[in-house]
């Protein structure tokens, strides 16, 4: 099987001393659920953002769907981004607009500038939006302003926005870091469903090691910009965890 995403010897540095990512290489296959764990400042967010080039990397290559991300011009990059959905810790919605409008924003990559500005969404797109809202259980809030929703609900809007892009890969930057345990479980369950039922590859940044172990097929451990673990989640032992976090087990909170 051809990997969906191939990251090869990627490096990112801001200057000679601070290398945020060093020699990063891994692969992601269609439908896989991968978690990236590691201490704060390890480079997890940067790595995720390199994949869809929201952040530029200095060395190495990233192949998505056999396209070289580093070489694309602006227009091609936008087209590729439509195939990659992204979910954020702070949801990154437009708070004043309605849930429905925010979900439909996911279709911008498929439209011309003018179509997007004047809200020319097709009937199919709108129906699709409702279908997704229903699937994520927030259909009743379709016309509410996003800032009137709870954190968990807003994150689900974010997921719908990513899904309406019809992506083959979804990147999640600490999606549950701002949520209570109840909402967190709901979100992680949906992400799992996306990867197992819809066959979309999911890459998630997480702080919580046990959550990663519970939901992922594979886990990547990042420490100070290096990959120190890249294996099935069953293979994540306590020794490995200590390795990733450079501290003893008793110094880590385990939910």
């Amino acid at each position: 099987m051809i990997p969906l995403l191939q990251v090869n010897k990627v490096e990112k540095f801001y200057n000679e001393e601070t290398k945020v990512l060093k020699d990063i290489s891994f692969e992601v296959y269609p439908g896989e659920f991968i978690s990236i764990i590691g201490p704060s400042g390890a480079g997890k967010s940067t790595l995720l953002r390199c994949i869809n080039r929201m952040v530029n990397f200095n060395q190495g290559t990233i192949l998505f769907d056999e396209q070289n991300i580093g070489q694309l011009n602006k227009k091609e990059l936008r087209k590729v981004r439509t195939k990659i959905g992204m979910i954020f810790q702070h949801y990154n919605l437009v708070p004043r607009l309605s849930v429905l409008e925010n979900v439909l924003h996911g279709r911008f990559g498929y439209k011309t500038t003018l179509q997007g500005i004047f809200n020319r969404y097709t009937q199919k797109e709108k129906e699709r939006a409702f279908f997704l809202l229903e699937k994520l259980g927030i259909e009743e809030h379709a016309y509410k302003r996003c800032d009137q929703l709870s954190g968990g609900q807003q994150q689900r809007v974010g997921i719908c926005r990513a899904l309406i892009q019809e992506p083959s890969l979804i990147l999640c930057d600490e999606p549950i870091a701002s949520l209570d345990p109840n909402s967190s479980k709901i979100i992680m369950d949906y992400l799992k469903m996306i990867s197992s039922e819809l066959g979309i590859a999911v890459v998630v940044n997480l702080h919580q090691v046990e959550v990663a172990q519970h939901y992922s097929d594979r886990i990547i451990g990042l420490n100070k910009g290096n990959i120190v673990f890249n294996n099935r989640s069953a293979a994540l032992t306590n020794v490995e965890i200590q390795n990733i976090y450079s501290s003893n087990m008793q110094d880590l909170i385990m939910i």
């Binding site: 869809n52 929201m54 990059l77 936008r78 087209k79 590729v80 981004r81 439509t82 990659i84 959905g85 992204m86 954020f88 702070h90 949801y91 990154n92 919605l93 437009v94 708070p95 004043r96 607009l97 409008e101 924003h105 996911g106 279709r107 911008f108 990559g109 439209k111 500038t113 997007g116 500005i117 974010g158 926005r161 990513a162 892009q165 990147l171």
Partner: protein, 261 residues
């Protein structure tokens, strides 16, 4: 250690206070501001005002002229603010670090805003007077230039505040720059933009009075004429009209702000 720090900050405060007193004396000297005379003048002036500044039936006859001039002033203010706002939106988008297109444009936009803000509106009016003459357009332009600078700075702040996360979210979906601006940034900061416009209109109406005196248009000009004629009753009427207009607009603005923000 703590003792030293306390001593130092006490010293700072004394130094500051003494500096202020010195400056005050200096300013009074240079402006020939006689404090005693100033203090006497205040109650004097108030008494005079109470006994002389009232509206008579005669002065009411001038009301149509006054109202016409007042309307001209108000509409000029709105027009100048609106034009200023449109330009300021563009400059604001260029000038905000989140929506900027490139660095030179961002610096240029901030420079223009700073220039326009630091030069008082009066200066603009006098400069434009030389080439545009004494007519409404001069007043309009002076207000326009002043508004643009102030609003650009205000909009840059609004855009920075409102846009941050929404922009990142939309970028990840593959939206174009204009889609991001129109559907992500603008909807979010539109109420603040309108609030600033309302504020600018109020400020401009007050500035317009001043500028009217210089450019010979609007309510300022009417006030100047009757002032020079020493017709205090009409002056009272004019002042009253201005106060009413400003207060009405202030109340309406606050109501609108409560609803949309």
């Amino acid at each position: 250690m703590i003792d030293n720090k306390l001593k130092r900050s006490n010293w700072h405060i004394w130094f500051f206070l003494i500096a202020i007193v010195l400056f005050t004396y200096g300013s009074a000297a240079i402006t020939q501001f006689n404090v005693v005379e100033g203090m006497i003048t205040l109650p004097d002036a108030l008494l005079w005002m109470l006994s002389n500044l009232f509206v008579t039936g005669e002065s009411l006859a001038k009301l149509p002229i006054i109202l016409a001039a007042l309307f001209e002033t108000i509409f000029t203010s709105i027009a100048a603010t609106v034009f200023g706002a449109i330009i300021a939106l563009f400059l604001g988008l260029f000038g905000s670090s989140k929506t900027m297109i490139n660095k030179p444009l961002m610096l240029f936009s901030r420079f223009v805003a700073s220039l326009s803000r630091n030069i008082p509106v009066v200066v603009w009016a006098l400069v434009l007077l030389l080439s545009f003459g004494q007519n409404s357009v001069t007043g309009f332009l002076a207000l326009f230039v002043g508004s643009t600078g102030f609003l650009t700075r205000a909009f840059i702040e609004s855009i920075d505040e409102a846009g941050d996360k929404s922009i990142e979210g939309l970028q990840a979906t593959g939206a174009t720059y204009f889609q991001i601006v129109f559907k992500g940034v603008l909807p979010q900061c539109l109420p603040q933009v309108i609030s600033w416009i309302l504020f600018m209109v109020e400020t401009n109406i007050r500035n317009a009075t001043l500028i009217g005196i210089l450019t010979g248009t609007g309510i300022g000009y009417v006030f100047d004429i009757y002032y020079k004629m020493l017709n205090y009753n009409v002056i009272s009427l004019i002042t009253l009209c201005i106060v009413v207009a400003v207060i009405v607009i202030d109340v309406c603005s606050n109501h609108v702000r409560k609803v949309i923000l």
